[in-house]
């Protein structure tokens, strides 16, 4: 699309440089500050010249370090555990959302059945529900309704095996958080994948069916491999939400299931504005999304365009 009248002129490149600086600058700033001592950050002995230190990271990850750093009096942050929680929750909910969402999208595109339009429409509608709206009901349900009696058969067995107190409820478990993330992400994933599945040529499926494959075989052997780019895009978006989400996780998690965003917000407590540690935790949380961005930007952009344009 090179138009002849757009000669590369310096002002144009200056604009681009400025844009890049603006979008990447804050991240680089955070990266550098995470290697500074608080005193250096606050006193502002200027930007580039400082002695890098990994103290902030040691402090953040003190619960998984194999040694005890001298400058840590006691381990308060337990960021390592939260990292693992975040990983478990984000990975499992991504996989579940993809599998379930893919099947649903396939059914919506390829089959005509009763209730199809209702399902399709409500899928679209729930896309707009903000997490804050889900806060109250999810809090109430997960804590009080979605429970197994601790004296009951299954509840009792769970209490005997895993310990813990009170009735066995979804709140405070990984599964509880995973369930709401899967539900929240499904509409979006179904939406995106529909637009990819439409493009799979029907003839391929027919051919497989003639060869004697059942509907599930057709789906897994023929359709799935063809929509890989769509799956990648959907996976990244689902992972991103599950990895970054704060509000619902903070209402549903307990001592053992807190995820990283919760710890970061907690650590900004009013008594302790330790910028260095905060920046280090921020960096740790930002690393997976940064990696995705660097290696899968094409998929991200495909996903974004598909998600927005294909109504």
């Amino acid at each position: 699309m090179a138009s002849p009248n757009t000669k590369a002129n310096p002002a144009f490149y200056a604009v681009i440089a400025l844009l890049v600086f603006m979008s990447v600058g804050p991240v680089i700033l955070m990266f550098m500050n995470s290697f500074k001592l608080d005193v250096d950050i606050i006193s502002g002995s200027s930007g580039l010249i400082f002695l890098p230190t990994i103290q902030n990271y040691e402090k953040a990850l003190c619960d998984v370090l194999w040694y005890e750093p001298d400058h840590v009096d006691f381990c308060s942050l337990k960021f390592g555990g939260a990292f693992i929680n975040s990983l478990i929750i984000a990975l499992i909910s991504t996989v579940l959302t993809l599998v379930i969402g893919c099947m649903a999208a396939y059914a919506l595109v390829r089959f005509r059945f009763m209730g199809r339009d209702t399902v399709s429409l409500s899928t679209l509608m729930v896309r707009m529900v903000p997490p804050a709206v889900l806060l109250v009901p999810v809090f109430g349900l997960w804590n009080n309704e979605f429970c197994l009696d601790r004296d009951g058969l299954i509840g009792g067995a769970i209490r005997d095996t895993f310990g813990g107190r009170g009735d066995v409820c979804l709140a405070g478990t990984h599964s509880g958080i995973i369930l709401i993330y899967v539900a929240m992400n499904l509409p979006f994933v179904i939406w995106i994948l529909q637009s990819f599945i439409v493009q799979v040529p029907r003839s391929l499926e027919e051919a497989a069916r003639v060869d004697g494959a059942g509907p599930f075989q057709v789906f897994f052997k023929v359709v799935l491999p063809l929509i890989k780019p769509g799956l990648a895009a959907a996976a990244i978006f689902t992972f991103r939400i599950a990895w970054n989400e704060y509000l619902l996780a903070s209402a549903l998690s307990d001592r053992d299931t807190r995820t990283m965003p919760i710890l970061i917000v907690n650590n900004m407590s009013e008594f302790n504005v330790e910028w260095g540690v905060i920046m280090a935790t921020g960096m740790l949380l930002a690393i997976p999304p940064i990696i995705f961005t660097l290696f899968a930007s094409r998929q991200i952009i495909t996903g974004m365009t598909a998600g927005a344009v294909k109504g």
Partner: protein, 442 residues
């Protein structure tokens, strides 16, 4: 993980040692128990974290701490205490949670533990605990429903008690020949002189951000200036002359304060003092440790301490935390032992030496503590004026406090008229109180 193993190992050796000892060990029955406790992220409790290994070493009782910022801590507790079996064995609670928890029957009455000869340590010396705090934080059911009195009883023990003191920069005061303020008028005058004398420096850094920050700063002045939220019949009087005066004081402090003061929470206010951007700091005693910590503070050794200045009376705040045993706890007796140990003379001194806020008169007078923290004597003096009734501790206080804080923040940032703003608060407070049934007997 490694640490867990290590402390278990310590526990085991102690256990071996203890069983070999000839004398009876009151802790023996609970050895190997793991207590789960819920503490706030707060300098005092950071000091507590450092002395807990000592408790485990002495008793063989493991302690697992869930440390949360205190608003989060309260949210968590609201949920945990409502279950029929809860996770926490011991909780720290902020003063105004006392009303909610006791009202909902969620805290253990401590009488039965202090009556139990197997649990109660005869050397505990409860009379040495600073009474203002015990009344403020521990008692409920007496006067006004939330204080000590003939019908009151004990539900918790103050731990991490704070009062308000005035910190000032000795070097700045000396340089300009300023006197340490004794009264509110003097303090406000100096606060507004400083920015002229020392360009770029704020007078007094105070909390002011929307919500509980602004409300706290206001209450700090209100009591001293002779005001109150309610009269004796629970009628809101926050909009009387003293209330207006307190809000004006807060506004002039913020106006003469450092840059960005309108959005300061406690952390920012303290940060600005630590960074040398303000000359005075009127807030809780809890900060002393950080001010003397060179890794956090640029003003080490430059800060002097004085009592909260006088308004119409001398009265400093009572605040901080207490510890209590949830009614739905699993290991109540072991939790009581931990509670008793932490607030004992020994525990109180240990935590003071680690930088915490002692709750006993004897600790404030202790020679070792004073040698390490010379300001402790002033703090001890300030404690005599600590007023347990400087703010109402009733179940609906949270709501009133939030409204007060938001409205004051508007006064500070949007130039809302003070009288009008406080009238609004009083009116809404009246409605809240009406709703809660406070005027049933009038």
């Amino acid at each position: 993980m490694i640490k867990g193993l290590k402390s278990t190992a310590v526990g085991l050796t102690t256990m071996a040692f203890m069983t070999g000892a000839a004398f009876a060990n009151p802790y023996a029955e609970y050895e190997g128990t793991t207590l789960i406790v819920n503490f706030p992220a707060h300098p005092h409790y950071n000091a507590v974290m450092q002395i807990l290994p000592e408790f485990t070493k002495q008793t063989g009782i493991e302690v697992e701490v869930d440390q949360l910022p205190y608003l989060k801590m309260r949210e968590r507790q609201t949920l945990e205490l409502a279950q029929d079996e809860g996770e926490y064995d011991l909780i720290a609670y902020v003063v105004f949670s006392k009303a909610d928890y006791v009202y909902a029957d969620q805290l253990e009455n401590l009488a039965k533990y202090f009556m139990n000869p197997k649990l109660s340590n005869p050397a505990y010396d409860a009379g040495d605990l600073i009474d203002g705090y015990v009344y403020n934080i521990g008692f409920a059911g007496g006067d006004k429903g939330y204080l000590q009195g003939s019908t009151g009883s004990l539900f918790g023990i103050p731990y991490g008690s704070e009062t308000s003191v005035l910190g000032y920069r000795k070097d700045i005061f000396e340089k300009h020949g300023l006197e340490v303020p004794e009264t509110y008028d003097e303090m406000l005058e100096i606060a507004c002189q400083i920015p002229e004398l020392e360009p770029g420096m704020g007078g007094l850094s105070s909390r002011a951000a929307s919500g509980h920050h602004a409300a706290h700063a206001f209450l700090l002045h209100l009591n001293t200036l002779g005001g109150a939220i309610f009269d004796d019949e629970w009628n809101p009087v926050v909009n009387n002359a003293a209330g207006v005066q307190a809000a004006e004081a807060l506004k002039s402090i913020v106006d003469c304060g450092p840059e960005g003061a309108t959005n300061f929470g406690f952390g920012e206010a303290l940060g600005s003092f630590l960074n040398g951007d303000t000359a005075m700091f009127l807030d809780t005693t809890v900060v002393a440790g950080q001010i003397d910590d060179p890794s956090k503070s640029q003003v080490v050794g430059k800060v002097g301490w004085a009592m909260h200045p006088m308004g119409v009376k001398r009265a400093s705040q009572t605040g901080g935390f207490g510890i209590g045993i949830p009614a739905n706890a699993e290991n109540k007796e072991a939790a009581f032992l931990l509670m008793q140990w932490l607030t004992s003379k020994e525990g109180d001194k240990l935590v003071a030496m680690a930088g915490g806020n002692p709750s006993r008169f004897s600790t404030h007078a202790d020679a070792d503590v004073n040698a390490k923290f010379p300001h402790m004597a002033t703090f001890g003096e300030a404690l005599q004026y600590a007023d347990p009734d400087w703010r109402p501790i009733i179940p609906v206080w949270g709501k009133i406090n939030a409204d007060l804080g938001t409205t004051l923040s508007k006064v500070l940032t949007e130039d809302l008229d003070i009288q009008e703003a406080l009238d609004g608060v009083a009116e809404r407070t009246k409605a809240v109180m009406e709703d809660a049934g406070y005027y049933t007997w009038n």
